[in-house]
């Protein structure tokens, strides 16, 4: 083992990791030194000079010289002093200079109380402003619905532009002017284009960029009640710290996990939380049968359990799980209805895709890439996926790969996007062509001199060079990554991606680690598919069974079937045929509107459970706040129904009183979930006999809360068996395990820079390991099929008609709008595009339409005709034969997988008519 460099700091000798600078060496050893511009991910620039220390040449040097510690490497034998009076005075002066122009804003500044500048001012000891001159001022800009701008507070650390431009490759935020007039903003006022702009609020050491959604219901950090959670707005499983106050959710910040999201979150994850406070949440059990007062929980549970029991006895019961419900909830539902009657609740094509992906992962030695893996790949092939919109943080990871590791990127999405500027090859292909492109690479990898003719002919000219170049790059790469997406709803794309990865693996000489990643749309898509194990019926089978009368009672858990089914009329008539439809959901959906019983369940931030992210990482989320209204945790409602129904096996469920009881049963019942009971301490975990407080010790106002109806304060905090956390400021005040950190705070470090104190090495893994556990690790044996049958699933043949009007309908994922829950958050709703149809400008011309206008469209898919009114948008990178429709929009939910359709433009009066009909 290499000898670690030794650095002497204030006459004490410390071991330092290789390649660190002095500032990192100091922070790694838990010593305190103020800094501004340095950031573990953004690196050092030495622009603030705050981290000055005194460095001595050798033991005899008594004089020393001031150096900027973030710019000085920690070499073996270095001697430095932090508390040297001259260095301390220098640092105090730096703060004094910065304070000359800093406004008198702290009481009205959102950063106050978690401000790195406040912390550093206290740490350096500057307490008195001697300068009596006037302060410099700036005008602010409106930067859109997510970020609030207050430029007067700026201290010119350049962190914002370094994150925005260098780290994330954003283009619309920059530096203007010179000297002490330096201004950070956009050239013109307007919403920030980068989908990671929310991170500016965390990166900015003071209050220049703050969270605008939190601004509307502002709460100081010390008053926020928080617990570790997992983001629910895509399948990447980024770690979050949602925080609440007075019973509503106030903000979401990133929770550090070096394996997953690192320091970052995307804007959908950060600002999509407000649906939890939405007016469309279900508040109390509702039943269409009763005209009287709303039924109570107990009465509803007893009645529903009776209905379920009867249906089970007749064999007409089925259950639909959900990729946005916890594993525990899905498991209990599966226990109630039986494995062969449990549908995971994914759209038909998506279900097939995920099942195939899972089957592949379980049998192969190809590694499923974590976000950290994606940060350092040397070649990436994205097949038929729009990474930026489907899995935003994977885009940020690939950006790092391209910036740092000079990753060779090949994109085959439908249209160009953010990543295109890094791409060596950027073909705009429809899903069919993307699958052919992948198949051609597989053929070339397996030694075919030329891709088969059938494949070649279906690709646009120019694709052939890309095939050979990409293949060569993939063969030469050490860490190639293959990314596929689910929003294309095309099995062929995934199959091609799998075969490329498999071929790379089988031709590898051992030094190669091929990685694969599938962008999944929901937090537990992989988990619910693993639970289902291919035993249960798909949604189509279920629908057929309902239509034929074989299923007459359906229980749906946190799922809006109208988002999953391509034929809403058929679904509606099938649901109408049911004797009883029981729906458990957080909010009003098209499905709850048709339910005989709609039961309100808690949102993710209001309950505890486990999600399995697209990487196969099981992660626990903990309840942050009490559930809204009368809602209860989903798994608990199902467990009560299970117990009440007195069916076989339900005796055991009596003892399931906390989430970890269910996870323990699940871990022992399914080998694939082995160990999920150990990913986080159970609900009865205590430190020195105490719970971990969700509130900080400084939390205020507990004797004057708004929900206090009387000064007698007879309201107790809710019971919580599920988590080791307390709804209180009282409890264990030390630092517990890192998987149970409810906030980042350390004495003297009130800002989120306190994360540094929780890492083994600044910017590295957390103490005690990063939370979560990967359930699927690559096997040793290469048991995966060697691609005997590479099937590409072609979209059905082109229907007859004039070619001008025949287009392939393809789904386009939108970061803001395609995800079910976040689109109900006001800030996200403001940022999402109106329902549209995207055309190539040439196609638009041939159809006689112009961009950004609304048209009535008649679409003929197979033998069905549908008329809609949509805004036409144009994008010159879209293939000529494609019409893109946004995925996950209720206006276009009647359509799922890519298909050919005849497109006809309707007259204006018809369009007006359609406009009125549409919701």
């Amino acid at each position: 083992m290499q000898k670690m460099p030794k650095v002497t700091i204030d006459n004490e000798t410390y071991d330092v990791a290789e390649g660190r600078n002095l500032l990192e060496a100091i922070l790694d050893n838990r010593l305190e030194l103020p800094y501004f511009c340095w950031h573990p991910e953004l690196g050092s620039v030495g622009s603030c000079r705050l981290c000055a220390v005194k460095q001595y040449r050798d033991d005899d040097d008594q004089q020393g010289r001031l150096v900027t510690s973030c710019m000085t490497p920690a070499t073996d034998g270095a001697r430095i002093s932090i508390c040297d009076p001259e260095a301390a005075e220098f640092r105090r002066s730096v703060i004094e200079w910065l304070m000359i122009n800093h406004p008198h804003d702290c009481p009205v500044c959102d950063e106050g109380g978690e401000c790195h500048l406040q912390d550093m001012t206290v740490m350096t000891g500057h307490a008195h402003r001697r300068y009596r001159g006037r302060k410099r001022t700036f005008k602010n800009q409106n930067l859109g619905p997510f970020i609030h701008h207050e430029m007067n507070r700026c201290i010119q650390c350049y962190r914002c532009v370094r994150f925005y431009r260098e780290y994330s490759a954003g283009e619309d935020l920059g530096v203007f002017a010179s000297k002490n007039h330096v201004y950070f903003g956009r050239f013109e006022e307007g919403a920030l284009e980068l989908p990671f702009a929310g991170n500016l609020a965390e990166v900015c050491p003071t209050g220049v960029f703050t969270d605008k959604t939190q601004h509307r219901h502002f709460t100081r950090k010390w008053d926020l009640q928080s617990a570790p959670s997992v983001c629910t707005h895509c399948g990447l499983g980024c770690n979050t710290l949602p925080a609440s106050r007075y019973g509503t959710l106030r903000r979401v910040t990133s929770r550090y996990n070096s394996e997953v999201n690192g320091y970052w979150l995307c804007d959908r994850g950060r600002f999509g939380y407000e649906y939890v406070n939405g007016a469309d949440r279900l508040l109390a059990p509702a039943s269409v049968a009763d005209n009287g007062p709303p039924p109570s929980w107990d009465a509803s549970a007893a009645t529903i359990a009776g209905v379920l029991g009867e249906a089970r006895a007749r064999g007409t019961l089925a259950g639909v799980g959900s990729p946005r419900a916890s594993l525990e909830a899905n498991f209990v539902l599966r226990e109630i209805v039986g494995a062969d009657r449990f549908s995971p609740g994914l759209a038909e094509e998506e279900h097939r895709i995920v099942t195939r992906y899972l089957e592949f992962l379980e049998s192969t030695s190809v590694r499923c890439a974590s976000l950290r893996d994606a940060n350092s790949v040397d070649t990436a092939l994205v097949l038929g996926a729009d990474v930026t919109n489907e899995a935003p943080l994977l885009d940020l990871a690939l950006t790092q790969a391209c910036r740092n590791a000079a990753c060779r990127l090949t994109l085959t999405g439908l249209r160009r996007g953010r990543l295109s500027k890094f791409a060596a090859d950027d073909l705009c292909l429809d899903p069919d062509q993307a699958a052919f492109f992948g198949a051609a690479i597989v053929a070339t990898l397996r030694g075919a001199p030329e891709p088969p003719e059938a494949l070649r002919d279906s690709l646009p000219p120019g694709a052939h060079e890309c095939i050979s170049e990409t293949t060569a790059a993939l063969s030469a790469a050490r860490r190639p990554l293959i990314v596929a997406g689910t929003s294309a709803r095309h099995r062929g794309v995934l199959e091609a991606a799998i075969q490329v990865a498999q071929s790379l693996e089988s031709t590898s000489d051992g030094g190669k680690q091929p990685l694969v990643s599938l962008a999944l749309p929901e937090p537990n898509t992989l988990g619910v598919t693993m639970l289902d194990g291919g035993e249960g019926p798909g949604l189509e089978d279920l629908l057929a069974a309902v239509e034929s009368g074989r299923i007459s009672t359906l229980i749906v858990c946190e799922n809006d079937l109208f988002r999953r089914c391509s034929d809403p009329e058929r679904l509606a008539s099938a649901l109408a045929k049911l004797e009883a439809l029981i729906v458990l959901d957080q909010m009003e959906t098209a499905t709850t509107a048709r339910a005989r019983w709609a039961l309100p369940v808690a949102a993710v931030t209001e309950s505890s459970g486990t999600f399995v992210s697209g990487e196969g990482r099981a992660q626990r989320f903990f309840q942050v706040k009490a559930p809204i209204g009368e809602s209860r945790a989903c798994w608990r409602v199902l467990r009560d129904l299970f117990v009440e129904g007195r069916q076989e096996g339900s005796e055991l469920a009596r003892e399931w009183t906390a989430t970890h009881h269910v996870s323990t049963v699940l871990a022992s019942a399914h080998t694939s979930f082995g160990g999920i009971d150990e990913i986080a301490p159970p609900g009865d975990f205590r430190l020195l006999g105490q719970r971990i407080p969700r509130l900080s010790v400084r939390s205020s106002g507990r004797n004057a809360m708004p929900d206090m109806v009387s000064v007698r304060q007879d309201v107790q905090p809710p019971e919580d068996d599920d988590t080791p956390f307390a709804f209180s400021m009282e409890g264990y005040q030390g630092r517990g395990p890192t998987s149970l950190l409810p906030r980042y705070w350390s004495p003297g470090w009130n800002s989120n820079e306190a994360i540094n104190q929780c890492q083994i090495e600044v910017g590295g893994p957390l103490h005690g390991g990063d939370p979560g556990r990967r359930l699927i690790e690559p096997g040793d044996g290469r048991t995966g099929s060697d691609g005997a049958g590479l099937q590409t699933v072609g979209v059905a043949a082109v229907p007859k008609g004039t070619l001008k009007a025949v287009l392939m309908l393809c789904g386009l994922s939108e970061i803001f709008g395609s995800e079910e829950t976040s689109r109900r958050a006001p800030a996200v709703a403001e940022s999402m595009p109106q329902a549209y149809v995207l055309l190539n400008p040439d196609t638009a011309v041939s159809l006689g339409v112009v961009g950004d206008c609304r048209y009535g469209l008649r679409l003929g898919i197979n033998d069905k005709v549908r008329e809609v009114s949509l805004t036409v948008r144009v994008d010159e990178t879209l293939p000529l034969h494609v019409a893109g429709l946004p995925a996950g929009y209720p206006e276009t939910s009647w359509w799922q997988a890519p298909c050919w359709a005849t497109v006809e433009i309707l007259g204006e009066d018809k369009q007006q008519e359609l406009e009125k009909e549409q919701p």
């Binding site: 008198h104 804003d105 106050g112 507070r153 203007f176 002017a177």
Partner: protein, 178 residues
């Protein structure tokens, strides 16, 4: 005998003090008919004051709530359309308040002040929950001149950037002139 004598003298001495007090000025106040004079800085009922322009001084910074040792203050911040922050609601539970005055000390805008009014008795304890409308007075209280928004860098209705006391004109970022 000697001790008996000294005992009697001591007793008489004590009684003489008692009798002498009959001719002293009375120290007892016949409250509520009669009231004791109160020092102007006596810490009694808490009020929220207004700035010289007549608008509420409180900017809802949560510092009084944070410093309150009995956690009897809570509020919710909000903002008007021009960016002036104020409490949407503000509540003090006087059944818990210990009149320590920490809130007044912590207040960066001189909004929250303790007054010499000590008559806080109520028959119903629930009446001791004071809301913003109960707390807000129509005067400036102590520090009559102070107006936080005259010093703060944020712009509000009637005060744009660069118009506060001790501020320069906003920088023209398109200019490179010194």
């Amino acid at each position: 005998m000697r001790s008996l004598l000294s005992g009697a003298i001591t007793l008489l001495k004590g009684l003489s003090v008692t009798f002498r007090h009959q001719f002293y000025r009375r120290a007892t106040y016949q409250y509520p008919e009669e009231r004791a004079p109160i020092a102007p800085r006596n810490r009694g009922r808490i009020v929220l004051t207004r700035d010289p322009d007549g608008q509420g001084r409180c900017v809802s910074c949560y510092l009084c709530a944070a410093v309150c040792p009995v956690d009897c203050i809570s509020m919710q911040a909000t903002e008007d359309e021009h960016g002036r922050r104020y409490p949407e609601w503000f509540r003090i539970n006087f059944s818990r308040c210990i009149y320590c005055g920490f809130c007044e000390e912590a207040c960066p805008t001189y909004a929250i002040q303790l007054t010499p009014d000590y008559e806080m008795g109520e028959y119903d304890r629930d009446h001791l929950l004071y809301e913003k409308e109960d707390l807000l007075i129509s005067g400036v209280g102590k520090q009559p001149e102070y107006n936080f928004y005259r010093h703060s860098g944020v712009s509000i209705g009637g005060k744009a950037k660069g118009e506060a006391d001790g501020e320069k004109e906003p920088v023209d970022v398109r200019s490179l002139l010194p």
